[in-house]
Symmetry: D2
């Protein structure tokens, strides 16, 4: 049985690690708060003491919260870079900045190890059902492919530059947030004109917007049902912050991204960080005088 | 053979009138520039001299460019209101303001005639193929149903208030414009980071945005192909203007709608009124320094 | 003593009418709610029964709330147009749309009477102190000048097109709102970084922004003191609506105007219509998590 | 004669260094491109070989382009931190991020040296005329005061946190950019309605906006005169980028700042980096169809 390290057993990482175990890997998992790693051990995995234990397997996957968390597990004496054997690979599946992905890719190259960025689209239920969509890029993406296929329903290849996968992932999250903002505004206009939010959502989702984002988020925003959170609003605000940072570095004005970033930040400022990010629509309804 | 009037033989109206003729109606058509009405007559229809000739059939459908055009055919001695027989009906399929729709609905009620608003989603090719999606509302919508079904693939009922159908139609056009703006920004960010616009568009359109708007407009914006126009940018600007007018009357702040309205207006200011409205993406590429 | 009509004894109009009486005019005043006209009569003026009574003097000034109110006093058997003697003049000082101003100007020309638009900058205390700044335009502006000079500290001439004065007035209100929004954002950023709002406001107002708007609104926004209202937020929202309507008719994209209009509308939606319009800053503070 | 180091002899730094020399200091200057340092030496100053030469005086002032440039002169064997004698002070007058200012402040504290942030408002002509406005903060601000007074017409104290001065400076630049955007939009609306841009600018600048920003930038934007650049548009875009980075770190939604940042970035994308930053108004005129 082939060994494989997995770092980050959060809402996404835990079911992903389990799927890898089910696919026949001996999974050595590390998690910052140890309890979850121990729980994983009771389910047939192994708990590592530090990120380096996962990296020592030679093939380590990471799925952590943000740039800072990824930097913490990558660097230092206990970190991935220090403990990954020559010829090993780090597959970074977190939603992080393209800039960090590029820096890590360069560091791995210097050390004779491989790196691939492979951020995913999908919520925890999709992670569990192996229904994730995965954007892969970076020098190690070909080697990573079979592992990625055990985690999702499709892998898209974006080439040698690891940062490219992160750019596409962030672009996707921006598209989703923009669609939610637009629906929130449209449904508020409808409601104020005596049109049922649900009826409007149904029309769009069953015709020219007949796709998961409009169907699922449309139903949530029509019903104003934002908890439990599939994806926390605070994380959405973080991701749009990454979009804008990438936009600034790339000198791309993105006014719609600015708008939804401000909306998410404002929603967090109003105490809604733990709602689902579709909860950005609450401010829209309030501003229209529809809710208090 | 039942007679039916049709006003407005533009890119949308002409194939719609033809479909009604094919469905067995004797269609009396009026068009402001007479040549098109005469062409329609050579194809088996009849050409009226004035809007009232179409209205005199007792069942008149209108499909004209904007509020002003609809007011012109509705009012005056030669207009619909004056010439529609008692018990007759006017089915207004143009994209106009909810306010105008409500005024016309009230005028018809006063005169003992019926009114239904039935704006459509779809471009000329959809009109030709009877693939329009139709939003129906107003007192006469039930009577209009069979005729509407001869024109589209689905009719959605939004109740007694005629303006409701127009609000939903305008909301849909706003959602489309917002999606295009977001794609334009996302693809510019991708391109500047070395990611192919087409590759990004494909990923989204084949996964969680697998619906016609993202598929079709996504491909156009990825390839930056904006002519010939399926829907002229100038008309899009007009429609977003109607969205904002309705938003103001309803006291609904719609910042994303403001943004895309300004984008469309700015694109018109740069001389792009005759491109397809997806051409709003050109400014985005220019502002990112990708095109001159 | 020369007779002069005055229509609209609100917070602005009342002190203006009083100043005209003090300047030696016999003022015939009309107000929709009669009580204020009667109070004016006790102070040495005369109360008219209908707008036409004020117009019958041959020189009528109007200062009413909005387009609708101006249309009400202008039209009808009791209105200005019907009762103004040939050769008379209507000086319209309300903040209304350029479009309405132009329509009224044309109607007066047809009837052989004169029209001038003369909207003002300044709050009720400035009206009382004859410190208003006045934008004058339209065919009758030269005849109106001496009366206007009795009401303000400066009269600016914008030519024959009456609408021009209204465009400038609306532009000014937009500039003020934009400055307030910017200060609200800047002070929130300062406060969150441990900088006193007052200290920041003082710096700007005493150096390169040393002018009334930054000094007065800056102090109010720094102290978050929004009542009593010098200018009601609801009126500000109305005025920005007029700015955007004029922008749409003129095909001028105005994203900053859209932003502050949405901010004002959203503030009204949150129940703040009766605060001073500087109260738009409350949402900014809330969105930054500084207030609840 | 007291020695003093000065780093950065650009358009701002050169006249500032000269003023310090005129105030009686023996100025050791360092500039990345050596020619300007040599020119300074011919005018009675001394040219250093590396930043450390300026720092070795014990009192070093820096005025460089951006965060990166400041980091370059601060760090390394030839840098300020390494060569400033114990008890010395670094007065950083560049427009940089609060975050960098705070990091440098902490590093100086660790080494037993002092740090003050003292960014300035004013263009090169103001620098030459000792008319700068200076925001001072950080542990060393009291010691720096007399030197700062030799450079400007006023010094404002923002306390112990060095970053505070940078936040205020960035806030000021944002306020200026927002005022310029608003004027650009207002003047475009005026022009399209037949009102002279200059007449509108004059009214505002001579009444409630009678302050340098509206007077000077108003005149430039009215006349559409954007070169030579007093402050390059590219630097303005950089500064607004710093505003938004600070906003993100502080969790303050700043939609007006986002708007002007996007406007500046877009203007740079259209090839206008070397115009004065008031040149952001060109896009506004183009989008209104007023210019090509």
């Amino acid at each position: 049985m082939k060994a494989l390290g997995f770092i980050g057993l959060g809402n996404m990482g835990f079911p992903m690690a389990r799927n890898l175990r089910d696919a026949g890997f001996e999974v050595v998992a590390f998690n910052r708060t140890r309890a979850r790693a121990e729980r994983f051990a009771t389910e047939g995995g192994r708990a590592g003491e530090r990120p380096g234990d996962a990296a020592a397997t030679g093939f380590v996957v990471s799925m952590v919260a943000d740039d800072r968390a990824l930097e913490e597990v990558a660097h230092g004496a206990d970190g991935i870079l220090e403990n990954l054997p020559s010829g090993g690979i780090h597959v970074s599946m977190s939603t992080v900045s393209p800039a960090l992905s590029r820096r890590l890719s360069a560091l791995h190259r210097e050390r004779g190890t491989d790196y691939a960025a492979a951020p995913v689209f999908g919520r925890p239920d999709a992670a569990e059902a192996r229904k994730l969509w995965i954007c892969a890029a970076g020098p190690g993406r070909a080697r990573a492919r079979s592992v990625l296929e055990a985690l999702g329903q499709g892998v898209f290849d974006f080439g040698e530059d690891a940062g490219a996968a992160n750019v596409v992932k962030l672009s996707g999250n921006f598209l989703i947030a923009a669609a939610m903002e637009a629906m929130a505004e449209a449904f508020a206009l409808c409601e104020k004109n005596g049109v049922s939010r649900e009826a409007a959502a149904d029309l769009f989702a069953s015709t020219f917007f007949s796709c998961p984002i409009y169907r699922n988020y449309g139903a949530a925003i029509a019903a104003e049902r934002y908890s439990p959170a599939g994806f926390r609003l605070a994380l959405g605000a973080k991701d749009l912050g990454l979009v804008l940072a990438a936009a600034r570095e790339s000198a791309v004005p993105m006014p719609a991204a600015s708008l939804v970033h401000d909306r998410l930040l404002a929603s967090a400022g109003r105490g809604r960080s733990d709602l689902d990010w579709a909860g950005l629509a609450l401010s829209v309804s309030e501003e229209a005088g529809l809710r208090k």
